[in-house]
């Protein structure tokens, strides 16, 4: 929660879990009631509402609606009259064609496999690491967390080539991960950001919980399993959501390590497809691709926005 920067507050699990209860601590914003009462302010505010809402609708929904419309148009219509509604009828066949003939369905399946695997790896590594760094606190914990932290500021670009080399032939094991999902799953575990976010979350869990479990004679594994994990549900949910979206977004790395078209996730398959299929099929494929995250977002909207606020957003 970025709010801690300005004024660190002792965080209770409830507050952590519930995110921010805006109405509790923020009964008013910039405008006072007397401000709101002034006619000029009112008019300006209403105008601004209209403009902002219009802009957001145009920018947020516009492209999606246009993609939906074009997904069921003919190529000719899209080219000659891109802004009119179906001059020559609606062709739902495009979607079926995109799903089966150019196998968008398969690519989406691959994407889900990548997303699930990456999420699991990432969760497993971050939770165990955070447990070590935050709760068990061995003497060398500081060194470990320093080394993890150090990688946070090097964008993935820096290690792109050597990482590729590594995946080609894993040192000591001499296996090539190319063309296998492991090449996407395993590096997802080396995510310093997730480790640190989880550690922060664990730091906020009151030590009395652990103390109580210890008095009951629980060992470290028990404490992790029965105390920490149940309390971490919110962070796990947020990380899973963000990993899922991340899997949909990632492009360069899967492009490099999954050269085999049969296994490529959607982000890599889509540009390849735009090379060979005609326009209407292309846009149908684009629409199918954006439909899934959009629907997910609409369902889990609250969790999403809270997650973004909590983790400061994740760049795809």
């Amino acid at each position: 929660m970025t709010t801690n920067i300005a004024r660190p507050r002792a965080a209770s699990p409830a507050a952590r879990r519930g995110g921010k209860k805006r109405e509790e601590q923020n009964e008013r914003g910039l405008l006072s009631d007397s401000d709101r009462g002034r006619p000029t302010v009112r008019v300006v505010l209403i105008c601004m509402q209209i403009i902002v809402l219009g802009g957001l609708v145009l920018g947020g929904i516009g492209p999606i609606v246009w993609a939906a419309k074009s997904a069921v148009s003919t190529s000719n219509d899209i080219l000659s009259a891109p802004l009119s509604w179906w001059p020559s009828g609606i062709h739902f066949g495009n979607l079926a064609e995109a799903w089966t003939r150019v196998r968008i369905g398969k690519a989406l399946g691959n994407t889900v496999a990548v997303a699930v695997g990456s999420t699991l790896t990432s969760l497993f590594v971050s939770i165990t690491a955070a447990y070590v760094l935050s709760i068990l606190q061995p003497r060398w914990g500081k060194i470990l967390s320093g080394m993890v932290l150090a990688t946070l500021f090097l964008p993935g670009v820096i290690t792109l080539v050597p990482l590729y080399q590594t995946v080609l032939k894993l040192p000591l094991l001499n296996i090539s991960l190319l063309n296998s999902f492991w090449a996407l799953w395993l590096p997802a575990g080396a995510n310093a950001f997730n480790v640190l976010i989880t550690k922060r979350f664990f730091d906020g869990i009151p030590k009395s919980f652990i103390e109580a479990a210890r008095i009951d004679g629980a060992g470290p594994i028990r404490v992790l399993w029965s105390v920490m994990l149940p309390l971490s549900r919110p962070i796990i949910g947020v990380m899973a959501l963000l990993s899922l979206i991340g899997a949909f977004k990632d492009y360069l790395w899967p492009l490099l390590v999954i050269p085999n078209p049969d296994k490529q996730p959607i982000s890599v398959a889509l540009p390849r497809l735009s090379q060979s299929a005609e326009l209407s099929i292309n846009l149908a494929a684009v629409f199918l691709t954006i439909a899934i995250p959009v629907v997910l977002f609409l369902i889990f909207q609250r969790q999403f926005l809270r997650g973004v606020a909590m983790t400061g957003g994740v760049k795809g």
């Binding site: 470990l144 080539v161 492009y251 360069l252 957003g313």
Partner: protein, 315 residues
């Protein structure tokens, strides 16, 4: 790279931490050293293989010549001098800087304004947040393919048609050296502004409203309140986001790669695209590693600045 001020947060967390622990628990922690080793295995393995290891390898690779097929040869500083003398490098560096600047100018005021505005909407705030965040949910590749179509340079292209209604255009968009980069920034801003606004919105929750009341007693108008209270209170997070955005800029790949392939006339060639081309198009992995190293050094300087700035705030 995620956009959060993790470092700062960690410092805060650590401070809070040490003050709140009592002896008994600490003794228990110490007795769990063997367990800690076992629990640390996944993270250490993962990072050795996919983070720390590659960093070391990248360093070595910068001084070798290899296409990953033949045995690498040790060539010393040859790669570095080859890369530094590449006439495209200054161009790519300038482009990257140009992108960063444009992204700040175009992309920065928008989310701040949005956040302040959404914060005032008591009942409908969620609607604005959802709408603003929608573009960030779309897979970038799909968004880029859509925008590529919108940017059609002909008079019948979508943006040109829309602008034609108000008598502007047709614009060449991606097909002119002057407009290609701004066009890419526009798309990137559209994709990122909503998510950034949500983060600011969260930060706005901590603005001390008493200050507003105090200012109102002084008869301060709305704009003065924004300038003297809201923005200063957001200053930290704004600076953090700027720095992180800057670091993120160096990862710009999919947009130029898919929109223009670095064209026209290298107007959208970024450092990242150059690294990719050295390695995966020309098969010159040493040169790519050398350029990555140069970039890494530059980013270290950036991170140093970042550390300095965050240190200043913690007092």
């Amino acid at each position: 790279m995620s956009r959060s001020d993790v470092v700062k947060v960690l410092e805060v967390a650590d401070r809070r931490h040490s003050s709140r622990r009592d002896g008994a628990v600490r003794r228990w922690f110490r007795s769990t050293e063997p367990a800690a080793i076992i629990f640390a295995v996944p993270v250490v393995l993962c990072f050795v293989y996919f983070s720390w290891g590659p960093i070391v390898r990248g360093l070595l690779l910068s001084f070798q010549r290899t296409n990953l097929v033949q045995a690498p040869q040790w060539v010393g500083l040859d790669n570095l001098s080859y890369v530094l003398s590449d006439p495209l490098l200054p161009k790519a560096a300038l482009n990257t800087a140009w992108f960063a600047l444009l992204a700040l100018v175009i992309g920065f005021p928008v989310p701040i304004f949005l956040a302040v505005f959404m914060n005032e909407m008591r009942r409908t705030g969620w609607l604005y947040s959802a709408l603003a965040y929608l573009p960030a949910v779309l897979p970038p590749v799909a968004a880029i393919l859509l925008w590529k179509f919108f940017y059609d340079p002909g008079a019948g292209g979508i943006f040109n048609t829309l602008l034609g209604f108000v008598g502007l255009g047709p614009f060449p968009w991606l097909n002119s050296t002057a407009m290609a980069m701004p066009a890419i920034v526009l798309e990137a801003t559209w994709a990122g502004a909503g998510a950034t606004a949500i983060i600011y919105l969260a930060a706005l929750g901590s603005v001390q409203t008493e200050l507003y009341e105090a200012a109102e007693i002084d008869r301060a108008g709305i704009w003065r309140k924004v300038w003297h209270i809201t923005i200063p209170q957001l200053r930290n997070i704004i600076l953090v986001m700027m720095l992180l955005q800057l670091i993120g800029t160096f990862q710009l790949f999919a947009e130029p790669f898919l929109f223009t392939g670095g064209g026209p006339d290298n107007a959208t060639l970024t450092i990242m695209l150059m690294i990719y081309q050295y390695a995966f198009v020309n098969g010159d992995f040493g040169a790519a590693a050398a350029l990555s190293l140069i970039l890494a050094l530059f980013l270290c300087v950036l991170s140093g600045v970042y550390q300095l700035v965050t240190r200043r705030w913690s007092d």
